[in-house]
Symmetry: D3
Subunit: 272 residues, 6 copies
Amino acid sequence: MTKPFKKILLTGAAGNLGTELRRGLAPLAESLRIADRVACKEVAAHEEALVFDLGDMEATMAATEGCDAIVHMGGAPLEKPWQEVLDSNIRGSYHIYEGARKHGVKRVVYASSVHAIGYHGLTDGISGDAPPRPDSLYGVSKAFVESLSSLYWDKFGIESACIRIFSSFPEPADRRMLWSWLSYGDMVRLVTSCLTAPYLGHTIAAGMSDNRVKPVNMANAGHIGFAPQDSAEPFREKVEAAKPPADPADRATRCIGGWFVNLGHPDDEAAN
Amino acid sequence: MTKPFKKILLTGAAGNLGTELRRGLAPLAESLRIADRVACKEVAAHEEALVFDLGDMEATMAATEGCDAIVHMGGAPLEKPWQEVLDSNIRGSYHIYEGARKHGVKRVVYASSVHAIGYHGLTDGISGDAPPRPDSLYGVSKAFVESLSSLYWDKFGIESACIRIFSSFPEPADRRMLWSWLSYGDMVRLVTSCLTAPYLGHTIAAGMSDNRVKPVNMANAGHIGFAPQDSAEPFREKVEAAKPPADPADRATRCIGGWFVNLGHPDDEAAN
Amino acid sequence: MTKPFKKILLTGAAGNLGTELRRGLAPLAESLRIADRVACKEVAAHEEALVFDLGDMEATMAATEGCDAIVHMGGAPLEKPWQEVLDSNIRGSYHIYEGARKHGVKRVVYASSVHAIGYHGLTDGISGDAPPRPDSLYGVSKAFVESLSSLYWDKFGIESACIRIFSSFPEPADRRMLWSWLSYGDMVRLVTSCLTAPYLGHTIAAGMSDNRVKPVNMANAGHIGFAPQDSAEPFREKVEAAKPPADPADRATRCIGGWFVNLGHPDDEAAN
Amino acid sequence: MTKPFKKILLTGAAGNLGTELRRGLAPLAESLRIADRVACKEVAAHEEALVFDLGDMEATMAATEGCDAIVHMGGAPLEKPWQEVLDSNIRGSYHIYEGARKHGVKRVVYASSVHAIGYHGLTDGISGDAPPRPDSLYGVSKAFVESLSSLYWDKFGIESACIRIFSSFPEPADRRMLWSWLSYGDMVRLVTSCLTAPYLGHTIAAGMSDNRVKPVNMANAGHIGFAPQDSAEPFREKVEAAKPPADPADRATRCIGGWFVNLGHPDDEAAN
Amino acid sequence: MTKPFKKILLTGAAGNLGTELRRGLAPLAESLRIADRVACKEVAAHEEALVFDLGDMEATMAATEGCDAIVHMGGAPLEKPWQEVLDSNIRGSYHIYEGARKHGVKRVVYASSVHAIGYHGLTDGISGDAPPRPDSLYGVSKAFVESLSSLYWDKFGIESACIRIFSSFPEPADRRMLWSWLSYGDMVRLVTSCLTAPYLGHTIAAGMSDNRVKPVNMANAGHIGFAPQDSAEPFREKVEAAKPPADPADRATRCIGGWFVNLGHPDDEAAN
Amino acid sequence: MTKPFKKILLTGAAGNLGTELRRGLAPLAESLRIADRVACKEVAAHEEALVFDLGDMEATMAATEGCDAIVHMGGAPLEKPWQEVLDSNIRGSYHIYEGARKHGVKRVVYASSVHAIGYHGLTDGISGDAPPRPDSLYGVSKAFVESLSSLYWDKFGIESACIRIFSSFPEPADRRMLWSWLSYGDMVRLVTSCLTAPYLGHTIAAGMSDNRVKPVNMANAGHIGFAPQDSAEPFREKVEAAKPPADPADRATRCIGGWFVNLGHPDDEAAN
């Protein structure tokens, strides 16, 4: 059967999620262009590897040429000093979208984050379309790409899904992940759903597995057809034995962003 | 065990959905009065067959006499010239409701359609109680019956469910049906739920199977207890091999009404 | 200064509201085509009078030719037997919209009614975009035109405002009108706003004066720029002296449709 | 593995639900303090039994000392004369919360009831956060504790879940329970979820099993992680054979409170 | 002209608001029954004065006999020890509603309070129908009467308006009152509106003057027709000169309940 | 009387709005620090003038020292090439907020823009808290600061108002401004309201005068107490005579961003 895409650009391909996606996206495209600022390992025959910094506009835009879709996982993966957030996440993502526009790429899947909305509360019952309420400069940069991609859809017709990834790790590592966990398998399913959904327009979707505790309503993105198949429950006993219960008076317990809300300013930290 | 109804009138009984319902409603009533403008085939012992046009007020009202419920599937099943829409769907449905009122029928299940709300978008996340936004004269006639039945509940105490059927076919025939499909089995289950729900009042319910892609939220009709059991997923590979992906710039891709939104005026078409 | 329209068709021109609008619309168009099923009196130089039934498709469509806008006030003004509602309000309004489509009229203002939503309650705090909940066949016909005009906007690009007129009379005649009254002056201002609003698309607007008691929120139609200038308050003392207080147990008191909700079926009435 | 609680106070422990909870809560705490106004039977080694009236402030407050959580099921379980509602449910629950405050108990699970919101309708599609609309003095007392516990969270930091129990019985006993039933197993799971949820703040949650007919949306309490595992469906045939269908004109059919809405004032009843 | 009421019972008639209402209600009723636990001064010919405690059921119920409306302003006017709140506000108000039921009084206006919803925030933009979130036992008692009156409407047909009075004083006394102030004149207008509104059912309305700063949306109570005529603006300069700006980090600044949210438990205070 | 602020930093002070604000803010602070990248003219005794680029982090942060509030109007005022938007609006605003954080400034008023939400429609009835939907890179940069300031409130306690200025000019210059106009007087009043509001937290407010046509609901910012006193109506005749009506088929007519939605990418423009 024909694969739906000729060539997909995957950024952040050398990271944990990128590595999973190299496997997961293989059935969707005849070839994968895998990019990172460090070299990807064990490049397969159907893969084409690139090394560049997202802050390098020329290289980044060139990497998008000849692709029909982009899965943009690259950039700083957590709170970083402003200059790094600016270069990797803000400027870098602009370069990706400009590349898509210049080279006619029609669909982009972007790794946004719970940290774009981290100050919303667990009892607020927000849905995937909650307004930005970032808990970090990192989160601000994610919100920036969410609105940038909105512009590129409304004005330039490039469809985007911004996936607010909660906690994507091999397994739940603390009590918060008992509700925020997105298994690698579900992460791949979610990206796949976004790439193959009948219509995307500009969609913001929450990314979590089918965990029992669900502080966020994911119904707003029904049109992408994401059906998570994993759950954090099998890990509950192990996690609860290892980690003490949270303190309800702690803002990190009450807010969906978790411990990010208690971080100081990254430039202060960097200065110490 | 006693069947819940003595006699149900089924209109449109000779059509595809009507034929399924003849089978499906049999367990619910001691006898079925099956009506269409053409003769129904293979009339069973528990069935009573009638042939008349819905536009014939006298015949239509007479057909409702002695029934405790009506499943009204009759009328033009897609976009038609105005005169036909008017006679079959608007006047015809008025005759059904007047019959129900005159003869004390207490519950009506009506085959409304996605085309009553076809201009809403796939990313709008509408629920079953979205306001009318018809995509055709056909859809306008469906919205008409939705508001007519609202009156007959509020003023005359006749309960109604208006089922907005999306795409009820033997199997999904195109990519849109991968999300809009309502299997025949689920269609029968949905009508059955409406007939047996503890309380209906005036309910508008979306009719789709449990497909993976869900652009419409069906939670508003939880009180009817419809639990779809089929899904379009097993047909995905076959459909995607046969049909090209949709163009996101096409309004038919973006709107839940699909290709109906691109139809011209039926009287212009008829004139050509 | 140039008038914004060359020729406006006004239907129902011989009625009370039509007569007010002949005066009120004069500043907006170089000429007015005034139509009714009875002859209009005292036709002025800038007016062109037509007599026809809205049920006459040919005559109605012909009347729309050469106009740049239509103010459609014609049709049965209250509950009537089905055949009359069908011919005057349903078929007649279809003829108007078909005329607009055939002859390139770009904007229509339609006299819808509170009776399209009459079963909503005074304490429900509905806004102008409440879903239909008609209290009469008359109200059903108004809801029909609201959805018909929605189609003609979405599919054919004809802008419409559907004004849900509450009670437009020379002065408040009963206690209900102390909140539902739309003065003639405000009625003219409302139609004028709809004709001259910068963008209409498909708008449903509630029509009431700036009465002190406001059970309906009119904010949804802010884009038409209607600023009512009259109020029922000066008439309160007179009305309260003449009419007893309403009974809260009466549905006519609780529903915004008032006494219409207590009317029986018009065909029963007609039969008596 | 360590149990999450040292000692849980369970009130109403001699009642039907209390008896189930004695079994159900055993895995959660090293010891259970079981309290009722009558003696509990067969007190186990891990249990400590108390007998007192909730209206007795001193005894009630004393009972909360040394506990880390309270499951408050005690009080009058249905409509009762005012003085009894006042003493058992209003004053009694105040004593419980004061005890919690004085003795540093951090989490309370309270048995509220559908009767706090009984006048909402089956077709209203309310969620667990619907505003109070009690159907009885009993329901008023439940709404009282819901707002009292809100204060104790906002001001004193005591987390509470108020579970609006619909119908918790061994099996569905009438047609209404085909949708309102909460199995004993699911009731225990719901209380357990509330005790172990990562964050509760002040939560109001609807308590029903996973019945097919769902007039109430339970999504607002996703953060407690309640996953019902039972359904009324297996009992449908038996119940429908035994009980006639409901009359849609009866307010008890339309309102989620059921027959409570048709009860007179309990003091009148008591006087007869 | 005939006055709309024969006899109105006014409780709390000796207090500041009660004294204003003695004047303000005079035009509405042929006689006023003025009640308080202390004697009212200067009883006029059209007034009938009673002295009793609201906690005295017999006396309170007797006071409602022969009245067509009740304006219930009595009870503890701010945070008090539990026993006083219970007797004056909870039990006392129950006595009032029972009196109304026994003696056929059809409409009650109740002085609820902002403190029933005091923990909502200034930036939450809540409307008059916000759910209870009391900031004090006093506020809990106000929420109790709100739900009690809901029952007495739904079950016994007694209409009620619960007015959430913000700050009703002769003039704004601190910076918070620059937005929360309800002038005496507007308080009287608001009560009058509630007594004379065409339909009340069960209404919860916010009570503030037309102050420039409006953290609460009052549109939900449009059907009562309250049009405030006063504003705190003329007092701004004086207040701002006398009082320092609020600290945004203080919960009393952020919550509409103001300094009530910082009060401790009244029984602790009483014990000191 | 004491002025509420000791020193306010005003950026963009040499622009049109800045010039108005130099006059308008004078009563609020003992001294104004006026900053722009060009020299301000006619610097008064109570003013202190600074010249620097917002892209210069050191200079910008230094400018905030010693101020108790900032009115940040500086940066590119319309669509510009990416590099300029990045330096002036994104990096520049970050420098402002970092300055505020380092130097303990407690309140910031930021000139956001309608162009942060420009693709929303005139008939959507959005309120001031609509989610971002930018119509330009300029609009994206405004949305960036809105979420940045959200972080600085939630994490660092700096209050911000982001004013979405629609069209602030000496008078309405085209038909769109008949609804989008914000007079200079109202602009000053709006900034003043934000500076003096009792509590700001993080507020996004729409900025328009009290024009008759109101496609946007401003009620969400009632807590800032902005009462516009001007209207575009007196300019209507002049504008309508000079400018033709808009075409409803043009996206610039339908979207609140107006002609910005039809702009191409600024870097393409710059390249031509």
